[in-house]
Amino acid sequence: MRKFATLMGAAAMTVSFAQAASAEKLTIYHWFEYIPQELLNEFTAETGIEVVMDTYDSNEALLANLKATGMGSYDIAFPSDYMINIMRDEGMLDTFKSSELSNFDNIQEQWLNVSFDMGRQSSVPYQWGSTSFMVDREAYSGDIRTSDIIFNPPEELKGKINVLDTAGETLAFASLYMGIPQCSNDRSQLKKLSAMLEGAKENWASFNSDGAKDVLASGDVAAGMIWNGFGAKARAERASLEYSYPKEGYLVWADSAVLLKDAPNRDAALKFMDFLLEPEVAAAITNYARYTAGVKGVEEFLDEELVTSPENNPPADAPAGTFVEVCAPETQALYDAIWTQLKK
């Protein structure tokens, strides 16, 4: 009988632990290498909420996995601007009132009324930055302020180029290079784009996103498309790398933390969003990921070299960056076909 009682006691304890754990858990779906683990620990220490994180390597993978697993398994995800529009259209986003976040007023003016989330009803700004490319100046010393480096490379760089394995960004970047709209229905334009890419591919070594920094830093490739903050990290490992703001144009993006529909723990999600809007936290993320925060008052917490880093400070004569656009499904299907054709 005593044994039975002990067993029951143990069982009851297990159940209560399980309940405690399930009540105080936050599940986030995040980009790879985009938040330092210490911050998650700090959040847990402050609130007692355990954070579980899964990662993805492109906006499209985020969408595909959310569609496959269904809603209700994650509380928060971190899509870029255009993907927020797509996710809203898919009914994947929940909304909140600004009064539910005590740090809502910390959002910078320029990131408050954005086209992808007017007045910030489903998201808070995370980090923003640009997509362009880097060149190893030891391998090539000529002009790098042109996307010819990627699409029509000089002799020194042929066969030593990596491009991002993300159709959305790579095709948009190629469209900027050719000076055509991102969502074109014009046959001759699309055919030219496809032909240009297939020709350029002859000179590419690989398609790689999560390894984009590593292939540059190790010298496997001498030029490669990359996000600016990731590029800053690459330069820290290999000083001869230089980030380019090409004259044909480059992409900008703004990642946000979005509240997902049917979030298992909405309260914890809002607490986490509040946490992300604290200047010190936003600055810590910037110091780690090397992009730019969309939160007021981060300046005093930032690493000094970030303020002047070439990746975060476009030269005065650089054109303004362009956001990736959302195409209509029929148009998107054409771009998907171009991408498959490119990688066949």
């Binding site: 496959a68 394995d165 591919k201 998907d336 066949k344």
Partner: protein, 316 residues
Amino acid sequence: MAGIIKPTGKPAKLADGTQTSIVDGRQHLLLLPAWLIIGVLLVIPVLLMLTYSFLVQDFRGGVIWEFSLEAYDQFFFDRGLFGDEPPSIEWTYIGIFWRSFVQALLAMIFCFLIGFPTAYFIATRPQKSRAFWLFLVTIPYWVNLLIRTVSMKFLIRDNGPINTWLLSGGIIDEPIGMINTGFAIQLGLFYSYLPFMVLPIYASIERYNFALSEAAADLYSSRWMTLFKIVIPSVRPGIIAGCILVFIPSLGAFLAPDLLGGAKNFMIGSLVEEQFKGQAGDWPFGAAVSMILLSIIMVILLFYARAQNRQNDGGH
């Protein structure tokens, strides 16, 4: 039968106290776990795949529940980028299948060329040391496949140890471009699946009666003749098992093409992955590609089984 099962089963004492073999007439129930596993892990997933391959693609992942042959049409017919040109045969995907089959076939051949002598060597060691040799074969497989593939990448990259060594030895002037090539993919496949060739062949050779080889030698058979006429036919089941175990996973591999091949050219595995995890998000097409692959493999195995039967009928 019941007598065999009784001691291992629950006490066969019924409420009325009679000793009885409760399993009598219900032996098939004992197969239930096996049927359950086959049903849940094989039949249901394949049926799901089959169903999805006949549905309409929803924008970026997901399906619309309407019957359609579009996924198969896309595989076989090229209607141009805009879908309104007269259909011609689509070579893109056939090319991807061809590339994958060639790579898998090569991996199988190389694995056999290295795996057979290895297995023969191990099986002919003294009983005591065989476990040690097998242990050596399995050591790399304690490590996750992803990590092994990435390590391979570090080894063969332009400024990796192999090229550095060859350069410093003055054997080459320029690094050999191994990474991001078909060669790198082949190396990855070969390395990943080699033990799947060694282990079944080893199991067969271990059971092989070496007195047969001696008898052959007594009858003036040369060593090569003994190998080809006696040993290989005797251990054929192990060789076939090894070949299938290497060939089939190689066909669906996507880590090696992605990491070692630079993701430049799709193989079947990466093509399917792209449909579910990547940009395309075309589930019906991914399912259709998988069904086509499944059908091709089934046809190959059926032909093999028929050839096998015919040979058995003729030989005995």
